[in-house]
Structures are given as C-alpha cells and as structure tokens.
Amino acid sequence: MSESPAKSVMQDGLAFERPLNELQQKIDELRKLKQDTHLDLDGEIELLEDRKRRETADVYSKLSPWERVNVARHADRPLTSDYMQLMLDDFVELHGDRVFGEDRAIVTGLASMDGVRFLLVGHRKGKTVKDRLACNFGCAHPEGYRKAMQKMRLAEKMKLPIVTFINTPGAYPGIGAEERGQAAAIAQNIYDMFELRVPIVCLVIGEGGSGGALGIGVGDRVGMLENSYYSVISPEGCAAILWKAGDKAPEAAEALKLTSKDLRRLGLVDEVIEEPLGGAHRDPKGAIERVKAQILTWLRELQATPIEELLAQRYRKFRSMGQPTSG
C-alpha cells in the first residue's frame, strides 16, 4: 500500500489492450451484420479471429512487468468470488475472528469441489462499488488475518486441507489496524501456518501485495497465475521511496522482478499456472478450470504425504529462499 499513482500512468498501463479490444469490436460488428443481413461473412470473421489470436499472443508475450501489474488489477479479472462460484459444489461461509469483528476483505468457509472437501481462505475485493467498499478493496485488517487463522485451526481439527486465494494490494495501513496489531496478526499467521498439520495450497490469483499476501501465503504448494504479481512493496510505493516519484512505477515494477516468471525463476513459488490467451479476464471460465485442475492435483499429491514429512518440507522450502554468499 502506498501513495496512489498518477492517473495517466494507470491508464497507460492498459494501453496495449486497445488494439485488441478494437479488433474484438470489429469481429462483434461483423457477427451482428451477418445475423441481421444473412450475408456470408464467415471468411472475413475467421480472418479477423485469426489476426486477433496472433496479435493477442504477440502482445501478451511482450508485456512489461508494469503492464502485467495492470492485468493483475484488471477490473474484469476473475476474483475469489468468481472462483468460488464456478469451482465449488458447496460452500459454507464462516464469519468472524471471535474477538473483534468480521472483516469482509477475507472470506473463509468450508468448501466442496468434485468430492474433495477443504477450507477456503481468500482475499475478497468485491465487484460493485458497494461491495468494494465493504471489502475495503481487498485490504484486510488484523481481524481478517485472525479470522483466517481461527478457521484454519478448525480445518486442522476436521483434517481438511486448506486452499488460499491471494489477491490483495496489501494489508490495510490505518489507525485501527495498527491499534489492533496488524504486524502481529500477519506474523502470527505466518508462524502458525508452519505448524498447521494439514496440507496447504496457496494461489496468487491477482495481486500478491507484500505481507498482506504472505499472511495467508505459507503453503506446501504455492502457485501463481501467469499474469499475477507478488512483491515486497507495490511498484508505486517503491517508486515513491527509491525514485522519489510515483510516476516511476513502471521502472520500479521492472526492478522488483515481481512477475510470476521471475518468482518461479527465483525459486519463490512452485508453479506458474498459464492463463488463457490474452489473460484471465478474456476467459475467466478457462482460467478457473486450470486453477481447479491444479488444486485437485496438488491436494491429491499432498494427501499422500505423511504429515511430519509435509511439515519438514514446508519449512525446508521457505528456509532455502534467499541464500547469501560467504564473502
């Protein structure tokens, strides 16, 4: 979380989408024309579709880190609620941290999917303006992190694995959050997740904003969607501090090495889940199908591992991240 970026930078961040959207518009127009006039336009439509596919592949293979950040924040990108709606056969939401309150920025509940039961924990951003406000734009307070842990303890007791969906700009920086121990709540979650005696799968589906992401991010398998990002600080915050200019966010995004490919290369995540051509926002169903398949595969693998072995592996994985040199 940090200073809001200059408007123009934000808009520029998605400029690469414009020609693709224009092509789509043309295709839609031709389709309508065909319907209205019964002209044979199949050839033209096919040609344009083909061009759109090629250009989309081209544009998306060349996205800058900053452009990917903007894809990760895209208004149409599937959110935790979309995954829940399309993936789950059953969901029983469980509210509250039992101490202070109910934080809607994190959703928790018992879930069933293709006969597999688990506890779902996810950052929630909201779709409508009203929802977004209620969810605080996905920026959780300490009670959100404490709710997550309270329910994860329940999962441990029920011997249910845990699946977390990470999508937050960061934990909320406010007076109440500090009063109630934002740092301590996140730290305690990270600590406790090492001790939870059930398999844990974590997925960064959009924004992996710093400690606010890691607060539900310690898992036996950590995956990132292709166009999501995971960073120690927002590009805008980094630019403000190191470049002393919020509009240097594109440079900061580049320097931070925050894309899924970077994180995989650095050995900080286990897997990058490829998105449908042109990003998850172009085909939410396709993206969600892939995530679902990955979760089921991982849960099968992890259920087969004895729990002591799993805990040892979980520690070794994070223990090995960032190895210094000896002089």
Binding site: I175, G181, A187, G211, L214, G215, V232, I233, C238
Partner: protein, 311 residues
C-alpha cells in the same frame, strides 16, 4: 512493509554537539555516548549501533560472533540509479559490517544465550537474505544447544532491493522460530526505534516475550503511509512503545539503562535459574530511572514516578 528512511542524519559524526531528534536539546556528544545515546533532557532513546548494543548487553568479552562472513548479492540485478551490488559494496565499506544483522552467542550476567542484533546503519536495518539467514541459523543453533534467544529489532522493514526474496525472509524467520519453540527454547524480542514493516510483521512479533525501549516507533505501516492513506493527522504518541503497551501488544517497556538487568532476569526465569540472584542491579547513575518517565511524557503520556523496582 518495505524499508523507508527514518531519523535523517541529525547527528553528524564527529561533531562536538548533537541535537536531540525528539526535544531539540543540544547534547554534548561525549556525555550523550556515555548515556548510551539516551537524551539527558527528554529521555529519548536514539538508535544504537549493533556493536554498541552488544557491548552494552553481553558480559564483557563473552560475545562470540557467528556467520559474520555472510554477504548479500544482487539477486535481482536491482538498479535504482545505483546498482544494488555497488550499494552493498559501498555500505560494507562505510559501516565495516557485511549486512544489517550481527549474531552470536554470549552470556548476559552469566546466563548463556544466543544474541542477534540488527544494525540500522546498514541500509536502514532492512531485512534481506542475510538478516533472514542469520536469524534462522541462530534459532537452529539455539534449538540444538538449548540456548534462549534474544533478538534486538531495529529496522525500516524488508529490503526492497531484494524484492520478493526479502519478503520471504519473513517466512524463513517465523519458520525458524517455530522450530525453536518446538525445542522448548524461549525467545525474547526487543523492539527498538524504529521497528516497522516486514520485521515487525515477522520474527520481532512472534517471540515468546516482547519488550520495547521507551518511545520507539513500532508498527506495520510507516506513519507517512498511514497519514497519506487516511488523509488525517495521526494521534499523538501513535505507534510508540507506550501506545503499543496500552493496546496490549507488548509485555514490557524497558529503558536502555535497565535492559541488561531486565534481560538477565527474564533469562533466569526462562532457563530455570534464580531471578533474584540474577537480578543484581549494576551500579547505575542516580538519575537513570528518570528518562523512562520523561520519555513517556514525550510520547503523549502523563509522567509517572517509576517505582524503584517493579516486580
């Protein structure tokens, strides 16, 4: 989360006088250093370099440093006008330290322990791979030897130049502390000015005992980020040690002059020793208790007469 700059250079090295960051009083440097960088006027606790902290905490000549050779490298090829690799080399040269954390073993009033001290002068005490690795190594060593762990935090947060690698040190250090806990070994965190971001949101907050020096800035987000976000002025004393104590976040506030005695006393409880025997106060100047009350006042609290010994 990440490291921001605190305490802009108000004390020029070499100057005869320095200005107090808190009350503005001009302090005679020699006396200021003798008081271990605590303002004689208002009791403000200045940031203490790691080596001075060790000298003040460990029994003389008992500190055996471990893993001093560990160095960070430019894992991201991070370049914000100056390449991180060059920045590291220059900072090592300037500070004489390899990174922002010094670790080892020592005794405190005769009680053996593992000690880790952050060094704010090294890139704002920011936590990167070396800080994370040294804490993990220290916890693992302590678990094996059954030594209680004392960690002094002093940091602006995670080191941005190491990106998500630095973020994951939060997980590494917390994970290491779970191992220590499993071994039944006690850990003590001492938060000093400033302790923010990824350090507060990891190892500094999950030790068994949480202490803080008076008036220290301790929090998740920096005050400037919060003020910008909520577009309001922050309440007086916000995110200071006294505020955290009031909100139930920490166990005790301990003035620098009493820290060594207090640690020995807690370590005695933690290791099955007699705290009364361990807690023989060293001879301190008669006015040493005074700064605590005045520091509380500086942080927006009514000054209270401190009892001679509370406990």
């Amino acid at each position: 989360m990440a490291w921001t700059r605190f305490g802009k250079k108000k004390d020029m090295p070499g100057g005869l006088w320095i200005k107090c960051e808190s009350c503005g009083a001009m302090l005679f440097r020699k006396e200021f250093e003798q008081r271990h960088r605590v303002c004689a006027t208002c009791g403000y606790h200045f940031t203490l370099p790691a080596r001075d902290r060790i000298a003040l905490t460990a029994d003389e000549g008992t500190f055996a440093e471990m893993w001093p050779e560990l160095c960070a490298y430019d894992v991201l090829e991070f370049n914000d006008r100056v390449p991180y690799g060059e920045k590291l080399v220059a900072t090592r040269k300037k500070t004489g330290e390899n990174d922002a954390m010094v670790t080892g073993t020592c005794t405190i009033k005769g009680i053996p322990c593992a000690l880790g001290v952050m060094n704010f002068t090294f890139l704002g005490g920011s936590m990167g791979m070396v800080v994370g690795e040294k804490i993990a190594l220290l916890c693992e060593h302590a678990a094996e030897k059954g030594l209680p762990v004392v960690l002094f935090a002093c940091s602006g947060g995670a080191r941005m130049h190491e990106g998500a690698v630095s973020l994951m040190q939060m997980a590494k250090t917390c994970g290491a502390l779970t191992r220590l806990h499993r071994a039944g070994v006690v850990s003590i965190s001492v938060m000093t000015h400033p302790t923010t971001g990824g350090v507060t949101a990891s190892f500094a907050s999950v030790c068994d005992l949480l202490l803080a020096e008076p008036g220290a800035l301790i929090g998740f987000a920096g005050p400037r980020v919060i003020a910008t976000t909520i577009k309001k002025e922050l309440p007086k004393g916000f995110q200071r040690s006294e505020f955290l104590l009031e909100k139930g976040q920490i166990d005790r506030i301990v003035a620098r002059a009493q820290m060594r005695d207090e640690l020995a006393r807690l370590l005695a409880y933690a290791t099955g020793r007699d705290p009364v025997a361990a807690f023989k106060p060293a001879p301190v100047p008669a006015d040493a208790a005074e700064p605590v009350a005045v520091a509380a006042e500086a942080a927006g609290k009514k000054p209270k007469k401190k009892a001679k010994k509370d406990g």
